[in-house]
């Protein structure tokens, strides 16, 4: 099937459009990488930063000497790992139980979960609860409130409903109970949906800063994104952080340090993203077909 001249022109223009769009999407990251590699004396005038202005790694040295960033990494790694594991396993277990029609109360439990999508207690009561539980300045304050999401539960439930009943019955004839069926039969079959939901939960924890705003009073309990927020919004905080040696402080300015901090803290997502992208897309589509 041949294409008319008009269609060919359209095709080329369309490709051109997407090339430009991709450049627009990539450019901020490019700008920040180049800015972070620049020599601090040469960034004062601003500019496009298509290439670094001068060259210096001092900003990165400053980032890795910064005690707050290192502790932010630690806090975020702990909350992300724990939150993702707890969230994924408990979500799967709950979703599996309510995927069984025979379970007494199954409808009631589903309704209870659904209702959390319709109504919420809001910010202040949630804050007061975490305070009353004595979780302020603990990792649990940043882990537990966000573990269970109604959306994730329903995505998993619809997946579990699609697993043929015969597989589970076969295992039961061999003497397995519901627990062993869940862990030995159902979970191994559910790797795609576990990966998808787990990734969404993980990104949520990695990008979270507001838990730190609400539930921490000490800087050493700040999540990475909270440390970053502080560095971005507070010019003097960018450079004069505990741990950064004087010789390095003289070689950087707040701009180069901000850029380097942003790059370092977004790097983990940028690195794993290409490999995991297809799982994310799958998740959106499973969710939209709903069960």
């Amino acid at each position: 099937m041949g294409l008319s001249t008009g269609e060919k022109i359209f095709m080329y223009l369309n490709v051109l459009f997407f090339i430009i769009l991709m450049i627009v999407m990539i450019y901020p990251f490019w700008y920040m990488i180049m800015g972070s590699l620049s020599n601090s004396d040469m960034t004062a005038d601003g500019g496009l930063f298509l290439t670094p202005a001068g060259f210096s790694l001092a900003a990165y040295i400053a980032v890795f000497q910064n005690v707050s960033i290192l502790s932010g990494f630690k806090v975020t790694l702990i909350t992300t790992a724990a939150g993702t594991v707890i969230g994924t396993i408990f979500t799967a277990a709950l979703a599996y139980a309510i995927s069984k029609k025979r379970l007494r109360g199954q409808f009631f439990f589903s309704l209870m979960i659904l209702f959390t999508m319709l109504f919420s207690g809001g910010l202040v009561p949630s804050y007061l609860l975490v305070k009353a539980l004595g979780l302020v300045d603990t990792y649990w304050a940043m882990i537990l409130p966000g573990t269970m999401g109604a959306w994730n539960i329903f995505v998993m439930r619809s997946f579990f409903k699609g697993i043929p009943e015969e597989l589970e019955e076969a295992a039961k004839i061999d003497g397995a109970n519901d627990l062993t069926v869940f862990f030995r039969v159902v979970l191994p079959l559910s790797k795609p949906v576990l990966a998808t939901v787990g990734l969404f939960i993980a990104v949520g924890y990695w990008n979270d800063f507001f838990s730190s705003v609400l539930y921490t009073t000490q800087k050493d309990m700040w999540q990475l994104q909270m440390v970053l927020k502080d560095i971005i919004s507070n010019t003097s905080a960018a450079i004069s952080q505990a741990g950064i040696s004087i010789s390095v402080q003289n070689e950087v300015n707040s701009f180069t340090v901000k850029m380097a901090s942003i790059i370092v803290s977004s790097l983990p997502i940028l690195v794993v993203y290409p490999f995991l992208q297809k799982h994310f897309v799958k998740g959106v589509l499973i969710g939209s077909v709903k069960g």
């Binding site: 359209f10 901020p28 800015g35 709950l94 379970l103 209870m112 919420s120 202040v124 009561p125 971005i232």
Partner: protein
Amino acid sequence: MALSNDVIITAGKSDARIKGRFARDLIRDKFLYLLLLPGLLLIVVFRYIPMYGVIIAFQDFNIYKGILGSEWVGFAQFTRLFHSPDFYEILRNTVLISLYKLIASFSVPIILSLLLNELRQVMFKRFAQSIIYLPHFVSWVIFSGVIIAFLNPVDGMVNTVIKGSGGSAINFLGDVRYFRSVLVLSDIYKEVGWGTIIYLAAIAGVNADLYEAARMDGANKLRQMWHVTLPSIRPVILILIILSLANILEAGFQQIFLLYNALVYDVADIIDTYVYRVGIQDANYSYATAAGLFKSVVAMILILTVNKIVKKTGQEGLW
């Protein structure tokens, strides 16, 4: 007499039998309940207890006296809220900002997915998709850093360009005339790619014969999009618009929280940011909870209404 006794006896019997069956089912499914328990417990604690906590909106809550010891004031907090000029400002800002975002966030992804769908080179298409989905996963903290750096009036790139072409620097984030535009544009930039996923899936489901028939009739690409693709995905578009109307009170807390400042409160302060400042920072717990409760209740009514409307149009609703 004998008959009615009989009835009572059988009724009693079947009652016992039902109870017996109930207990037997509970025992049979004991492991399922075990699986259900931890997740349900987390939901009860972190979702349902705060729902109970909203009753402090009807109190003059004192954190030392607790919910049980605090004084009840009826609807006084709501009266105060509805009489405050702040309330109309934050309501207006919330609705306006999310309405602007809504218009942008359903129109631009549709156009973009139509264009993406026309890319013939599979590798190039995949690559383009990967790149434009990416900003969705970058946190608002990082994004706010990018925006602040780009729009900085002294040495930001945008203002360097403006000054270079003879203009004078604009403080985009501190000027009520520009702030909302910054919000809407940065939101599109971050979410437009991600927004195409559902449309692309819908477009992929369009019957290819329809395009062939349209081509036979001499329709060019633009006409095919207009007369074949768009009508075919209209149900999806409709549902997404209706559903986002239900979220009209969600104007994007994180984004605004990270970008706004006292200079632009007039146009940028939304219900959520107000609740945070008044409730958490100033510790006006009851008053802020009342404002939050107002939002939750309106949001719930909106979702229930919207779901009904969606079902009336013959589509599957949210539940």
